[in-house]
């Protein structure tokens, strides 16, 4: 939450705007769906998800999360902890937009239940910068124009940071292979490769 407010510029951001119209704008579209599901829902025997308490560290801060058992780490980050930097793409582990680092390794947060994160140390895109100073990988992505629309970028950057610390990719071909879990619809792959190589050489 701290990360959300830091570095915020004056004026209304896209996210602020969406939050403002949410109660009214979203209400209009959701209302018909709600009434339909109320009609269809069986009256009884709907088990409630059990609540699970999970202790973990996110971007260096200790958290005690009390959530329904079926909340994924991705949804916990975005919807409960208000850290929308991690993106939801396919939600099935195929696109890599949701990549975060867990205990130093990159994972797909969409396929990870929050309840399975007991004791884990999680780093998201919000946790890479040191205050105002961007992480070298973030700097390199900017320098090499390693994105176009930017939606896959948080996942690409987290994956690239994991790739370097995991230390198995030394050639262009190996980097491409090791980044194959991150899809970029804009096709910025060549520039992503250049960014990673630069950080790898200076690391």
């Amino acid at each position: 939450m701290d990360n959300d407010s830091s570095g915020k510029k004056a004026g209304t951001s896209r996210r602020d705007f969406l939050a403002q119209i949410g109660p009214t704008g979203a209400g209009l579209t959701i209302a018909p769906l709600l009434s339909k599901s109320e009609i269809q829902a069986p009256a009884q025997d709907i088990p409630l998800p059990s609540m699970v308490t999970t202790h973990c560290s996110i971007n260096g801060k200790a958290h005690k999360l009390v959530m329904e058992s079926n909340v994924t780490l991705l949804d916990a980050l975005r919807e409960r902890l208000h850290m929308p930097g991690t993106k939801k793409g396919c939600d099935h582990g195929q696109c890599g937009a949701c990549t975060v680092l867990m205990n130093g390794y990159r994972i797909n947060s969409c396929l990870c239940l929050t309840g399975l994160c007991e004791g884990a140390e999680i780093i998201t895109i919000e946790g890479l910068a040191r205050g105002e100073e961007l992480h070298p990988m973030q700097e390199a992505f900017l320098k090499h124009d390693a994105f176009q629309c930017g939606y896959c970028t948080p996942g690409q950057i987290c994956s690239a940071v994991g790739l370097i610390s995991e230390g198995h990719a030394k050639t262009d071909e190996a980097i491409r292979e090791q980044m194959s879990g991150n899809i970029c619809r804009c096709g910025a792959y060549q520039n992503i490769l250049e960014a990673i190589k630069e950080v790898q050489q200076t690391a």
């Binding site: 088990p47 998800p49 059990s50 058992s69 079926n70 990870c112 309840g115 194959s180 879990g181």
Partner: protein, 327 residues
Amino acid sequence: MIPFALIRIKDNETAIQNGSAKGSKFIAGGTNLIDLMKLDIEKPQKLVDINALDLHQITVLPNGHVRVGALVKNTAFAYHPEIVKRFPVISEAILSGASPQLRNMASTGGNILQRTRCYYFYDTSFACNKREPGSGCSAINGYNRNHAILGASESCIATHPSDLCVALTALDAVVFTQGPKGKRSLLFSEFHRLPGTTPQIENVLQPGELITAIEIPALNFASRSCYLKVRDRASYEFALASAAVALDISNGKINQSRIALGGVGTKPWRSKEAEKQLAGLVIGKEAFRKAADVALADARPHMHNGFKTELAKRTLVRALMTASEIA
């Protein structure tokens, strides 16, 4: 995902006790299970989180066998120095599958238990005997380009998706389990079942039975082994055909070999017939092609996967050429 209970357990006995209950499932990495739960294909009432169990080690035993704990991540398995050096076919098989993110999450036990990626199994609007026993198979008369040409039945033609399993069956790995009735070990080739009339039953595990480890027997010539995978994309895709091979060669002749195929069978497909065919022959394309013909002799293609028979043969030949250092 439909609602479910999630419990964490710390010892095998409690895990087995909880896992034995109807509607319970063990969860480790969860990469396949969570995906299937999101699609309402898997609908457990209770998930038993086994990640705290003491099954995370890779151990070299005094007899040279390598024991891999069921919770060892695919990444750790693939890059373990002992595996890279002595069993390259395993390392290559693991690294040819999924993405780094998934391999960092996925466990050894889970890899072996992963379910088919048949698109009719995944799409709940289609009939599927594996997902809903007795409902029929949409693939047999549907679009079956990705489907099995070996080991299929009237009920199911879905391929087994794992790369690791192809290498493990080639090397005669052993699966160690612990269940309500005690501990047992199972030969890898006997772990997975052919679909027959019950494609929903994919292996011989009993309710509550937990995989604790995989053991890879010491096999000197396995250092001369490789895994070749052919697929529609260069990376991050399941096999159309794959081959795991190991060769014992002296004076240009084959003493023994190990041969298994992936992407073409309803289970990881060991071909002892092809191994027998190769014994005593001079290494070379001619001998390898004969072995490939034998390995695929029982192939039964469907409407759209006829190409797989020749593709699997060529894949196997190329893998054997690579392992014998001819190619």
